[in-house]
């Protein structure tokens, strides 16, 4: 049986398209509110909420719920662990993409 190649392993928590979109958006900002995440990722409110719960439980994001001028506001930011893991995930995807390119020679 061939040895497993860690180069093919992807982080399943991050690799889900919705969560990958959320984490990619958050990796480009200091923080963002729920509506911004919804508009940039195209996810529905329920979907986004569900993904954020999973990411928060895994310690990849912090979710702060507060009131801004008496209106509820949810602010989301990447944790240090989240930033490292999503960067590693993108690097992994790049490695896989490079492996799939035909050898120029």
């Amino acid at each position: 049986m061939p040895e497993s190649d860690d180069g093919f392993l992807l982080d399943r928590l991050i690799h889900e398209p919705g969560r990958l979109a959320i984490l990619t958006v958050l990796s480009s900002v200091a923080d963002a509110d729920f509506v911004f995440l919804q508009r940039t990722t195209g996810l529905t409110k329920g979907n986004l909420s569900s993904h954020l719960t999973k990411l928060e439980d895994a310690g990849l994001v912090t979710v702060e719920k507060r009131f801004v001028r008496k209106r509820p506001n949810t602010n989301v930011a990447l944790t240090k662990d989240g930033a490292e893991r999503v960067a590693r995930h993108w690097a992994q995807l790049e490695r896989l993409r490079a492996m799939s390119q035909p050898d120029p020679s």
């Binding site: 398209p17 919705g18 990958l20 979109a21 990619t24 958006v25 990796s27 480009s28 900002v29 200091a30 923080d31 963002a32 509110d33 509506v35 911004f36 995440l37 919804q38 508009r39 940039t40 990722t41 195209g42 996810l43 529905t44 409110k45 329920g46 979907n47 801004v68 001028r69 209106r71």
Partner: protein
């Protein structure tokens, strides 16, 4: 999924709050009218009241944008880039305009409108660094620079005032177009149009 597109979206959210630009443009026009002592603005206090009223508009505008549009804080990297432009490039532009036409002994003393040139270049540089120029920025502020660079201006206060008028109009028009872009990009969501499994950026 385009990371650069995401960073642009964040910058657009902050930069295209164009109603602030409209207020800025009105301030520039008010300053031009004040310099010309036009009508009631011949009284200095009227000008001060005008500035206070316009400055006071910024709070309800800020509230409007915060309440109706999404919000994200640009990354530290992005803020540093913008700070470098503001601290380095803009003073260079101002020095450059003084070199083109001023009373300084080292000035070329050309018949150009340095107010229009300076403000046009400042806006082009800062918008370019913050979010990247859109076509209307290039046309409006590039046009302002070109107008100012025409060798037809008289030296002295009058051309400076005309420069303020031109800059004010440019800021108002650009501000309205920016606001329109923001509404399109971050306005009320048509959420039913977004599939539950779509994760497009």
């Amino acid at each position: 999924m385009d990371r650069k597109g995401i960073e642009t979206a964040v910058a657009e959210n902050a930069q295209f709050r164009g109603l602030f630009g409209v207020v800025g443009g009105l301030l520039a026009i008010l300053a031009a009218l004040g310099n010309a002592s036009w009508g009631p603005l011949r009284h200095h206090w009227v000008f001060v009241v005008g500035v206070i009223v316009l400055a006071g508009l910024t709070w309800p505008i800020h509230t409007f944008y915060t309440d109706h549009f999404a919000r994200a804080t640009p990354s530290t990297k992005h803020q540093v880039r913008l700070a470098v432009v503001v601290l380095v490039a803009i003073p260079l532009v101002i020095l450059g305009s003084l070199w083109l036409s001023s009373r300084a002994s080292w000035s070329l003393d050309l018949p150009v409108n340095t107010t229009a040139i300076t403000l046009g270049l400042v806006f082009l540089l800062s918008i370019g660094a913050a979010v990247g120029l859109r076509l209307h920025h290039v046309v409006i502020y590039g046009g302002l620079v070109i107008l100012g660079a025409l060798p037809v201006w008289e030296r002295g206060g009058e051309s400076g005032n005309t420069g303020l008028w031109l800059a004010g109009i440019a800021m108002i028009v650009s501000g309205l177009l920016d606001h329109r872009l923001l509404v399109r990009r971050f306005g009320p969501s048509t959420a039913t149009g977004m599939g539950p499994d779509r994760a497009g950026v």
